[in-house]
Symmetry: C2
């Protein structure tokens, strides 16, 4: 490209005739309100595809929107079926032992884990838009529900009430999830940042693994606390009760599960090795106990599991105080956590396979499956990462793999439950531990430290909060720190001094561009955040200090004295009335010091508000420029410009 | 200014040799942490003046920092003294009746109002940096303290405990105020925006005025509730008990006070007319009662006031639960509210008189006066607006006017308290009502509506919350909405399409500049906020929709197909790891659609992080430009540029 290709029009250099900062055309209040609401709640414009369509087509599209199965089922092929059957059976073999294990984390009967892998996957298969999500219960959600409900009802003393409370909490989790999606409030889930989730999951996995020491050491009495201190105290205060048989069995199975996982990770073709390992462990463990009668030598077993499908529980929901508030609170916390996991997992796999997932639609699907689940003896389900990854690796094509899994679980419930009688608890604990170790993502934590120290702090505090406090505490701390960071960004915005980049008309931050040159007699400042009540005082102080510093520097260096303060408002997205007062105060401060304040490139919101509040008239329209360059030129040639301005009045 | 004055250097037009976006020089972790902390907590760099000074000078400066009296006392003149005596006596004449009235709002003995106008002003005179602030109790703070403490201890049933609790709450208010200043956490006060305060004050004034109906109508039993509904119910359920004598007296005095205020407002020279009016009312009212024996006909009077100065109360502070938490909570809420008023008032008058006030220093001064106050029978004090305005109008020169006021109050306490025996309560109510009506700043509310609808919403909800709920509720709602606004700004940033402004190299938002021209085949987007976890999902959806919309538009208009998406990052102040993932996803989305993603002008923080996370390598350094213009030129001449880029590798 040669210089001849692009010639700067002469008018650019001519400030008088150059374009000025525009005040955006005024809009009726309700129109601008409507636009703001649309931008806030409908970033993806979900009604887009409904535009200009006949009513019948709209109905079909609407049906497909809420039930994506109507979209993909007509295009379903035999080839798809084959893949989905393979992946469905694979995830079922993982779902059965995991379901039984995780139910124990929630202090619930093991059979609930199987129930929860039957109905919810069927609902999700109809309503979900992810092709890879495998539905089931999750360790962290189970633990969280268990610890929140056990605060109110003791699961050993009143197991029936506890069970009903768990269904009620699941019901509210579903209602909250579905409403978040329906009212497009998905951004609440966004407040659980990636860093929070890494720390939180790692902490929960640590806690859950430690709790498994109970079964692995064959202890009968154990703390209900989930923090490191009480678990360790419980373990080491009973050293005389440790059962070596149980411990050996546990270590062997953990080793077996970890080895198979390591192998499958290295050889993705053999994904089924690690997927089948838990079921294999259960079968081997059960056989071992059955043959050696180890259950009589201190190895605890599951015992009897009821045969038959999910009994209805819609009439068991508890809507009376004081249990109602507990159920709502537990439902809200576990529901949002489960949602965060489900959506993040769905989104990651959609990204791999290049298809799009609508977060709000997913929330409705996950919420519906929990509502229906709570009516049919299921507790909280979502799309766990481990199971979905197996589903993906097994080559699933559509959500039909969930249907296959549900059928496999159904058959188990109908015919195979007696086989689990002799399954030793220690094997279930081994399954949990090996799954949990995969959730401690220390590499992600290192990555956070390298890139963003603040994110690392969030992650670390979530981890420490969960491990030394409680699961809820870790979550609250991490979310609080994340929100604090956002508030701090606004409350303490960065301000920069700009300099001219040599051989250009561009002015940039002198910290980032050390070669940017200072313009004598002019201080150019950039503000990097909206000017709101939360930072108005701060900015007034900080800008005053920039001016003080500059005047001192100029005096010390013996340069021409400061005459102009240019404020580049490009990055100021919005302003409120406190912000406008701040600008007025800065104007007074500069006037008192005989400096001229110049504004550059206020955005549409800012320009609208400062012109309504008469600040524009106060500073003079002629001291507001479109670019820093124009402002600097005007400052360098003040007399002429001023006289022209006077003439034009 | 002619064109010849400024010639664009040819290199600007030559993309290859033009300056590129710089990655800021790496800094050691602790250095950058230190810098961030300094920017966050010391915007005004208070240690600036101590630099390069000998130790003795540093000591004097330090003393003057904490006790500004050492700064102004040596320069004190006889002329100053004259002015300060006049203004001191004027504010004393206002402080005495107001003090007695406001103590009643806090359910405290009237004499406490006088005590609180004696010691705290002396402390402030030594430590305060405002020349115009007149110290005393405030209506809203009194009401708030009264309603918060009465929730725990009934002031009629256990007046002694209630009194001690009030001193304890004042002590904690002082401690919290002083620590906020000492630890430079003044930004907590900033979260009470101007809009919040307008609504909150208006609501509190409404509630306080309505409560005065008790004395004005001469009712004996009255609700303890402070909301509109319970007050109105209380008033209208006792219509048969209304005393017309009292009501007539009340209306006459309110009318008198309002008339004098109106007069003084129109004729600022006669400020003393309205300043003296409350004391005149008290004297007239007392005389009237004394002469007519109206106290025997249903006009309630103050009764006996103890003679003598403040008794010490340091041993009365209650540090036992459950009262401790109440005291801390009440102290925190009332302390912060009082601080907000005191600092705002101090700052406004400093702005008028062109001197500077250090907010953190003021907090230490106000906190200290409350701590000392709590030891000497005083309750919460700050710098009320009405009294400070009178002080200012009376021509005060320094904080010495507070000393004069304190001496006047001292003399009253020593000799004049018996004179208040016959003062009718209805006069005190009239004084409160007329002061409160001035606080309902409906003009400010209209101003907010005109300039910023959201600020108006905040103001309105504070008002409605206070009037229909409680003072605390109104405050919580208003602060929550204000914080929500800040979060919403970050969670839902505005995105704009940019166009080229004719005859310039400048690209601006097409909404604000309707004449800005679209560049064929290129979509230029601007993001107006930091990219954080809270908005990463939103931005991904919204940017995808911009691309969809643009592709649809291009197709419909039959223009050249979209090839480039330029993202102007100038206004993106920061990014976190979730934001970087979002950028990576956007890159994948654009690649899938065969579009090239181009970044423009990432700031130092953003550039640092995206280069650490390898995103820069992913997108290619050559697709990051310093200005939109350069990016557009590069997009328009892709082949040549690309081949050159390849050559340079």
């Amino acid at each position: 490209m040669g210089n001849a290709d692009y010639v700067y029009p002469s008018s650019v250099m001519n400030v008088e005739s150059s374009p000025r900062v525009a005040i955006p055309p005024p809009q009726p209040f309700f129109k601008s309100l409507g636009y703001s609401l649309k931008e806030t709640f409908f970033p993806d414009d979900p009604l887009r595809q409904f535009k200009n369509k006949p009513a019948s087509r709209k109905f079909v599209l609407g049906l497909q929107y809420f039930f994506p199965i109507f979209e993909w089922a007509p295009r379903y092929t035999l080839q798809f079926l084959k893949s989905d059957i393979i992946s469905g059976i694979t995830i079922a073999s993982l779902a059965i032992p995991q379901g039984i294990s995780y139910a124990k984390l929630a202090n619930l009967p093991p059979i609930l884990g199987l129930y929860s892998s039957f109905i919810p996957p069927l609902i999700y298969a109809m309503m979900g838009s992810s092709r890879d999500l495998a539905v089931g219960t999750v360790a962290v959600g189970s633990l969280l529900m268990g610890s929140m409900l056990a605060n109110v009802v003791n699961p050993n003393e009143d197991p029936k009430l506890y069970l009903h409370l768990a269904f009620t909490a699941t019901f509210f989790a579903g209602v909250i999830q579905a409403s978040l999606g329906f009212f497009r409030l998905g951004f609440i889930v966004d407040f659980l940042s990636h860093a929070t989730i890494v720390g939180f999951m790692g902490g929960a996995a640590t806690v859950v693994s430690l709790q498994q020491l109970k079964s692995i050491l064959g202890l009968e009495h154990f703390t209900h606390g989930a923090d490191l201190v009480s678990v360790m105290r419980s373990v080491f205060s009973q050293t005389h009760k440790w059962r070596w048989e149980s411990a050996v069995l546990g270590c062997v199975f953990i080793f077996f599960l970890l080895i198979t996982r390591y192998f499958s990770k290295r050889q993705p073709k053999f994904f089924w090795v690690s997927a089948m390992a838990p079921l294999t462990s259960v079968i081997l463990g059960s056989l071992l106990v059955y043959l050696t009668h180890a259950e009589k030598h201190g190895v605890q077993v599951i015992g009897q599991l009821k045969k038959g499908l999910n009994p209805p529980t819609i009439t068991d929901l508890v809507f009376v105080s004081p249990y109602l508030t507990t159920a709502i609170k537990t439902g809200a916390v576990t529901g949002i956590i489960a949602l965060a996991e489900g959506i993040a997992v769905g989104r990651s796999f959609a990204m791999f396979k290049n298809y799009h997932i609508d977060g709000n639609k997913e929330m409705i699907a996950i919420g519906s499956m929990n509502i229906v689940g709570s009516f049919t003896s299921c507790y909280l389900t979502t799309g766990p990462f481990s199971r979905s990854a197996v589903n993906y690796n097994a080559g699933c094509k559509t959500a039909a793999s969930n249907i296959v899994m549900a059928i496999a679980v159904m058959l188990t419930l109908l015919f195979l439950t007696p086989l689990f009688h002799y399954t030793p608890l220690v094997v279930l604990s081994a399954i949990i531990v090996s799954a949990m170790l995969g959730l401690i993502d220390y590499e992600a934590a290192i990555h956070l430290w390298k890139i963003d120290k603040f994110d690392f702090l969030v992650c670390l505090s979530a981890y420490v909060g969960v491990v030394f406090g409680s699961v809820q505490l870790g979550l609250v701390i991490a979310v609080a720190i994340s929100v604090l960071r956002v508030l701090l960004f606004v409350a303490r915005p960065r301000t920069y001094v700009l300099g001219n980049i040599p051989n250009s008309v561009v002015y940039r931050n002198v910290e980032q561009y050390p070669n940017a040159k200072h313009v004598p007699g002019i201080l150019i400042l950039e503000i990097d955040a909206p000017i709101y009540f939360a930072n108005a005082s701060y900015l007034r102080e900080r800008i005053t200090r920039w001016i003080d510093d500059e005047e001192d520097r100029v005096k010390a260096a013996g340069e021409a004295s400061l005459q102009y303060v240019i404020m580049d408002m490009s990055a100021v997205g919005n302003i409120d009335t406190s912000g406008i007062s701040m600008l007025e105060e800065i104007k007074k401060v500069t006037e008192r010091r005989e400096l001229q304040l110049v504004l550059v490139n206020p955005g549409s919101e800012v320009m609208k508000k400062i012109s309504k509040s008469k600040f524009v008239e106060g500073i003079g329209q002629k001291w507001i420029y479109l670019t820093v360059e124009e402002a600097v030129i005007a400052c360098k040639n003040p007399t002429k410009d001023e006289s022209e301005a006077w003439n034009s009045v």
